[in-house]
Each structure stands twice: as C-alpha cells, then as structure tokens.
Symmetry: C2
Subunit: 289 residues, 2 copies
C-alpha cells in the first residue's frame, strides 16, 4: 500500500505518492482548471497505486467541521467553478477505502515544517506564506490548530504605515494584511512586478513593516515557539532581515521571545513544506490504524 499527498492550490495541484517510510515514488503538478478536469487528472495520476491514506492540504477557505454539510468543501473563493465544490466527497467516491485527511494548504505546510523543517523539535509553530495571497497555518501541541474555522490570519486587520495611502487589494476587506502586503500590492503600488523590483526599492521596507507587524500580532495571540515564512516573498533573500527588524521594532520589548534570528526564519523545505505535510498527515493516520 502507498500513501498520497495532494497540495491543492489555486494554480496547480501538487500530487505525490510515497511508500510507508515517506520515500516519494512519484510526484507531479497538475494545472488547476475546472474541478472535473482537475480531479480526473488527479485520479489518473494516482491510478497505479493502491492508497491507504491521502493527506489533502487545500486552498481555502474550506469547511472543516465534520458536523456541517460544508465539510470537505471549498467555500468562498474567487476561483471560478470551485465555490462550494465538494473535494472530500469527490475523493471519497473515487477512493472509498482510503483514509482522507483534510486541512488547509498552509496548515499542511506548517505541519511539514514542524516535523521535518524549520521547526523540528518544537511543539508549535506558525507558517505564513506571502505570495499571491497571504495565509498562515498553525500547529500547536504537535497537531493542526483549528477551531470553528481554520486560521485566516491573512485577512486580519493591521495598523497602516503612516506614509501609506494605498487602498489595498482585498475584495472583502480592502486594506487587511493580504490587501496591503500580498504580492499584488507590490505591483499595484509601483506598476512593477515584485520579482522585477530592485532590492533597494523602498517598498520592501513597507512590506516588511506589515509582515513584521502581523508576526507581532500572531505572537501576542498564539505565542508559538517558532514563526516560519514561505511563499514567493522568500525569493527575496534580503527581506527576512528587514522583517525581523520590523518585528523587533514594533514588539517594542513587550513580550519575551527567543532571539529574533532564531524565532523568525525562512522555510527549510522551500516549495515542499505543503506536500511534505500532506504526506506526513497520511503516514500518521496509517500508523494510528
């Protein structure tokens, strides 16, 4: 028997098959188009492998309460065709004897980083990805952290930088964290795509201000042992030090944390945190049986 992982993103679905020791047998990336075509391609990929368990880390927001009819569904998303799509139900119909583990892509990534990445040996961490959007996954006491919903820290409100008048890009909240600091805000403010902006551009200080502030708020609320940054933003190697400095300045000595160079770090599994977490979740479900 094998285990599977599906990191379900709005652009692509990373799918991996591993043996019970977590050694990857085959991995692919499937473009996210319509649900029907995408799922058909996913089932084709996994067809040769009998699957004992599959971990799915999905873009969200998603329904996570097994008592509600929305469980296993993608909820409000701008991604055409995916609103209210029943991912878990569709997988279950195809794989009736396979254990399914269902969480957010960022929760899976946080779990991957905790077990095999930047937070190894810790019991808690928050993983924040900054790219097209901003999302955060939370692990606490070694397990995924979810409540009446999963964390949606990307949409929390932040204090504006005094010099910032940008309206923000979030269709729900305009100037929440994602609206002010995700990738599209870089191009929205400057007319230049993030990857083409020089390291010396002042906008990086502004983005570091918001991300550092969000990490202060996370620390004052969740007090995790470790904060991990991933996503497209980590393609800017100069940014981590700016974010660490912005965190220290805005925390203003209020809560003791480990030294900031240890406390806030980049992902240790670049672009693999999510799929690694999905496979780990599947592997553990199997070992519980």
């Amino acid at each position: 028997m094998y285990i599977g992982g599906i990191e379900a993103g709005g652009t692509k679905m990373i799918c991996a098959v591993a043996d019970e020791s977590l050694a990857i047998v085959e991995q692919t990336a499937i473009p996210t188009t319509t649900p029907a075509d995408t799922l058909a391609a996913i089932f084709d990929f996994f067809a040769p492998y009998p699957l004992a368990a599959v971990g799915v880390g999905s873009f969200g927001p998603i329904g996570i309460d097994p008592q509600q009819s929305t469980y296993g569904h993608i909820l409000a998303t701008p991604k055409a065709g995916w609103q209210q799509f029943d991912v878990v139900g569709t997988l279950k119909a195809q794989w009736p004897d396979t254990e399914l583990i269902w969480t957010t892509d960022v929760n899976a990534a946080a779990y991957g980083e905790l077990r095999l990445g930047a937070a190894q040996g810790k019991d808690s961490c928050v993983y924040m990805t900054v790219g097209t959007g901003i999302g955060a996954g939370v692990v606490r006491d070694g397990a995924l952290f979810q409540g009446i919903g999963h964390p949606e820290i990307g949409h929390t409100f932040v204090k504006r930088h005094p010099d910032d008048t940008y309206a923000g890009t979030c269709p729900y909240h305009h100037d929440c964290l994602e609206g002010l600091a995700a990738g599209p805000s870089l191009e929205g403010r400057t007319g230049i795509k993030g990857q083409d902006l020089p390291d010396t551009h002042a906008i990086w200080d502004l983005q570091a201000y918001y991300i550092g502030q969000a990490l202060v708020n996370i620390t004052l609320t969740l007090a995790p042992e470790k904060l991990i940054l991933g996503g497209g933003v980590m393609n800017q190697p100069h940014l981590l030090a700016k974010i660490q400095a912005a965190f220290v300045e805005q925390m203003a000595g209020y809560m003791d944390t480990p030294p900031v160079e240890d406390y806030i770090s980049a992902w240790a599994l670049p672009n693999q945190s999510g799929i690694t977490g999905c496979l780990l979740l599947a592997q553990e479900r199997m070992s519980e049986k």
Copy 2:
C-alpha cells in the same frame, strides 16, 4: 481542607475561600499597595483556613514558563514595586504544602466563564476585558491557552478608524488596541470620564469599531466557539449591540460564525469571572490528586 482563589489586580486583590464543592466560605478585597503589605494582608485573610490548593489569576504580564527563572513573577508592569516580584515563590514559602495554580487574571476569567458562565458547554472561548487596560484570556480544549507566553491580545495592532487621529495611550506601542480603546482613551479624547459620557456620544461608536475589529482578528486567528466581553466597558449596556454590529461589518462575511448575538456576549458572572476561575482551577487540581 479548603481551596483558595486570589484574583490579583493592580488595584485590589480579591481573595476567596471555598469548600471542596466550591461554596464560598469567605471573600474579601484587599487594596494592592506594596508587595510586602499586600501579601501580609492576604496571608492574614487565609490564616484560619488550611488550604489544599490556591488558584492565582494575576495582572500581567507574568512569567509562566516553569523552566525559566521568571516563572511566577510579575514582569514589566507600571505598578510601582511589583516589577519582577516573585508572587509564586512568596506564596510557596508561606504555604509549602499547598498546590498553586498560576495564570493571568483574564485566563482565569475565561476559564470561569467557560465552566460556569457565558461559555458553559463549550470547549473554547476568548474573554476580553476592557477597562483601565485591555486584556484577553483564552481557553481551548477546555484548558488554559498559553504558549511561550500568555496571550497579550490587548497590545495587538489594529487598523485605525479613518476619522481617528488620537495618538493613543500605550507606553509601549502608543496606538495598539489598548492604546486606542481602553478606558483612559475615552477621557483622553473627550476630557470626560467614560462613566460620565452620554450613551449618544459618538465616541462609543469609535470604541465599538476597535473592539469589534479586535474580535474579528481574534476570530480569524483563534476561531473560538464564543467571545465574551467583561470589565468596566460592560457597564455601558448600549455598547454590546454596537460591538456586535461593528464585528459583522468588519468581518464582511469572510468567516462563518454562529449568529453574532450568540457568538459575542457579555460576561455571565459580572465581576466574578476571575475569582470563580481561580477557585475552579484550585478545585480541579485537588480532584486530580
């Protein structure tokens, strides 16, 4: 044997003795002066009672990591004489055979509300007090929520109301939540003490905007089953509905919650949440032995 509770506030120490069924035998309030005088009065009050366990919910920030030398201490506080004072060590020296449970005043209050108040039957809640300062306690999976520190949500940053130019009162962060919305900001903005302001004053809408926004951020981060408001602000009965409306407006439909009238409520144990939580924590420690 008896159990004790100490709700240690910056103004007064509420002390209570109860029997093992939680029936209160004697309760008092001792003014918070110097540590030596205050502790002497506390020991006098409890002297007639052999104490199996005492729950202490303290003003903070406090040291909660048993591995660190600051455990049991009050940390950075503006309260003269109490900085770095070793509360737990002093109690332990006086009561060597008594079990001590040590947490924040707001964590104790959250626990009291969960077990016997507004969140009865739930596994998780956040209790936020708005008075001289703003603090929040968190219960999750039926237990106190703490990480590398205890929650300090009162000092998280918030988005300013577009019409608000007030500098804020927080000595650390100026315009964090506490700086913009705690009691002193009411008088600071208007020159009138909060309790003397008419219900129709526009400042209540501003305060509701910030508190409602903080509850949005808490929901998107911790996703608790229930939010409970207490403290001096709840002496303004008109304010709860304003806060609920501000929450709904700023959440903008992003995360599903229970109906706001159920989700956000006032304390069910006015001015007793904290001491009740302290006694409950002591009672449970006893029953574990």
